[in-house]
Symmetry: C2
Subunit: 490 residues, 2 copies
């Protein structure tokens, strides 16, 4: 009870607040699962009795007891005779990377110092970082970008510098609509594209539109961007969790949810962080669900350009452009600091999305937009992407070869695309959190699967972002990784 | 009843939705006043009887009857024996500027085609525009900006291109903190500055922070940015309206509201659009209110750089840095399309504001930030502002001289600063809406005071944005304005 009372008086993630209004067993289960997953309910802490919680929430005692029972069955909670219900020990608790002594003292977040879509903590203070989520920032094409900026600045009409269309510059929407059709099979036109400041803003806009239309819940992949749920909750939306297997997200759960889920946020081309792609059967199933229920699919195509061994997987949006929001970004192909992302919006949502964009920041900044348009139209973007694809494929091959040679027990997966792979630990390396701690002590920042929402019982695996280090640091980071993995664990 | 029933089924501005939860007489009055002011309740339309509305809202009939009575007394509503309560005719209904035939067909807003802080409609389709809210876009320093971008791109550290501090680049926060102290008397430091995508985003972040802390209402100036109320309402906040007189906003109403107002959004240096400044007595009063109640003052210093005839009025924030959020922008000094704004945040709000910024878009784009830092540190920004101050003062002098000569009955005010003046019509010009219609027919877009929220009975005045036209069009626009005003009205 003490733990509970404390958490009640806690910060913004107050558990009772989370649970308030979750009157059904399913909603209660979801909320508790999230609270455990996100560390708001710490391992070992005791939950209130079902009688007390039922009274506080104003629900039937059986509702709470059933929810507890289900979560015990799933391994999230533990029930012991005489000591009540406690939160189960996690196989690998998430840890907070060390922050640089010299960095700002401001604590800008809860949990690991990462935000939505920000997977690389921005101040690890460590010389080597293999977190996923960032391209090689040392490869940003500075001179070419400066030249494109100059050309864009000189050819822009005066009105480009003023308040204008919230969707963004027509030059860029035209360039992108052609590029996305050619490279990703997206079916759209410039009028239906909306430029956003990153995928996080796009999700925020869509969440507010859906909430404004009465939506209550949105489905997300069980493993994925750490703070997507936080962002959705901030917009008043609950979540349904879709487990992920070798065929991608288990979208069948959407049908079972019986129409109460308004949208599904997916990474079909390259599941983050598992690295699998959504199977053809599930692509068909999820678009059928959308057509049948009026549900929306949001396709996060964060690294669609980087596929190495086969033809790229086309965008899901091409199958059902009226039911899928396609979301792309320059965060992986160029740099996250540009904050350039775009969504192709079905006609029935367009006006509402544009209205939310106006209320959010009126329009995204124009100069990057004009510059990217110039970059695409001049062919510089295609050249840059081709060069980077070779660059990252080279790194991936070095990583796979080094692990095969020096840590033969490690199992690498998700290598066909993107800027990260999954590395399942060899048993002799010891537990995941011990490996991460050893790496941190030697100056290497690593992220494990639990940080991205993996359930208890998931494989003990690292998510290795081989795109992240600058070129001069890649060899050193790889070397440290092999050393740490090859060392016998405690 | 029909009108009411129709509006009930209407769009997102559904009136019943506005009124729901407004259980006190004061809250109900505010909501109705807003609905009339913003045109959601059209002049002449009939309101439901107090009995019916009281039933629908679940409040006492007297509450509704009292609210109706107050609004009749204020001139917003009309009560006629036998025909119930109707919305009063406005002295000068807001009108929607014509849009270009070739512009996108998408209707991206309600009411005039302007958004928060976007006062110049982005597609009037007219050759001449004297709406306020925009600098002269033809004067954007393209070459100097391109050169600064190139220098910034080449000297930036790699990590600048990645996910980083949600507050923005330290280079710019350092440069701004020195600049704001020197030029505007702002007391802050780089750690407490947060870069935002325009003032509209800053208001959105602050509104969500305040709402998250339980705030219900925020005070706004009666005349001001047209959609500020929409933005606040979207964040779940109601508004208290502060009338504006020759001494600025009547902040005494804050004390009368008895602690239930969480913040006041003001334009102290140069009230928009009336052009007056907040008197020293009211500056003292509003900071005393903030200290006594824990209320927050948000100081919108949108054109603080442009004061022509006297020393600049220092920032209010300097008087009470722990109680005032100072908001500045490059939208007037450089260009709105850059979407560069900044807020200096009191320590007790900083973490919450940063959290909302992360959830909104993680961080603002970095290249403009690095470029503006370079622009400020190299002295180019000061030179540009000095040049533009001369440029705009020259335009203001031409405008005042032309009106004095050709329309001697017009009364010009608010000339000491900024990029706009108020022009009270000479009686012979006819009613305000007729003048605006005549101007539109001749190719000149004009905005009147009612568009910015002026109450019934306010002076029939135009808000003339003399900064808006590109240099080649200024003489033509001025000539047309004088012609239209000198023409005898119907």
């Amino acid at each position: 009870m003490d733990q509970w009372a404390t958490s009640e008086r806690g910060g913004s993630y107050d558990l009772l607040l989370d649970l308030a209004g979750r009157n059904s067993r399913a909603a209660l289960e979801d909320a508790l699962r999230e609270a455990v997953r996100e560390g708001r309910l710490a391992a070992g802490s005791r939950l209130p009795s079902s009688r007390v919680l039922a009274r506080d929430l104003g629900v039937a005692r059986n509702t709470v007891a059933d929810a507890y029972g289900q979560l015990v069955a799933e391994g999230w909670l533990t029930a012991r005779q005489g000591s009540g219900t406690t939160v189960a020990e996690r196989p690998a608790p998430r840890r907070r990377p060390a922050t640089a002594a010299g960095s700002a003292a401001l604590d800008v977040g809860h949990g690991p110092r990462t935000g939505p879509t920000e997977l690389v903590p921005f101040a690890t203070g460590l010389p080597y970082v293999l977190w996923p989520g960032s391209p090689d920032l040392s490869a940003f094409p500075r001179s070419a970008w400066a030249a494109a900026t100059r050309r864009a600045l000189h050819s822009a009409p005066n009105e480009a510098f003023g308040y204008a269309d919230p969707r963004g510059r027509p030059e860029l929407r035209t360039a992108l609509s052609g590029y996305l059709a050619r490279v990703r099979g997206v079916r759209t036109d410039p009028d239906r594209l909306v430029l956003c400041s990153g995928y996080v803003q796009a999700v925020g806009l869509l969440a507010r539109v859906l909430r404004g239309r009465g939506a209550r819940r949105v489905a997300v992949e069980e493993v994925g961007l750490p703070d997507l749920r936080t962002l959705l909750r901030a917009s008043g939306l609950g979540t349904l969790t879709l487990p992920v297997d070798a065929d991608g997200a288990q979208v069948g759960a959407l049908d079972q949810a019986g129409g109460e889920v308004a949208a599904a946020l997916l990474t079909p081309a390259h599941q983050f962080p598992m690295g699998v792609r959504l199977s053809p059967e599930r692509r068909t199933a999820v678009t059928a669900w959308a057509r049948a229920t009026g549900g929306l699919v949001v396709e996060d195509d964060y690294d669609g350009e980087f596929r190495y061994d086969r033809q790229p997987v086309g965008a899901l949006q091409g199958l059902a452009p009226d039911h899928v929001v396609y979301a792309g970004t320059a965060s992986k192909s160029l740099a996250p600091g540009l904050r350039l992302a775009w969504i192709a919006v079905p006609p029935h949502l367009l006006e509402a999305v544009v209205r939310e964009k106006r209320l959010a920041d009126h329009q995204s900044p124009v100069l990057e937009q004009l510059t990217l348009a110039e970059f695409i139209e001049s062919g510089a973007y295609d050249r840059h992407v081709r060069r980077m694809r070779l660059h990252y494929r080279g790194r991936r091959d070095r990583l796979v070869a080094a692990l095969a040679e020096r840590v033969p027990g490690a199992r690498v997966s998700g290598i066909a695309a993107g800027l990260h792979v999954l590395v399942e630990l060899p048993p002799e390396a010891g537990p995941l959190d011990a490996v991460i701690t050893r790496a941190h002590r030697r100056g290497l920042a690593l992220g494990g699967l639990p940080t991205f929402g993996a359930p208890p019982g998931a494989a003990a695996a690292l998510v290795i972002g081989y795109g992240t280090p600058p070129e001069h640091a890649f060899a050193g980071a790889l070397d440290l990784l092999c050393e740490v993995l090859a060392e016998p664990g405690r």
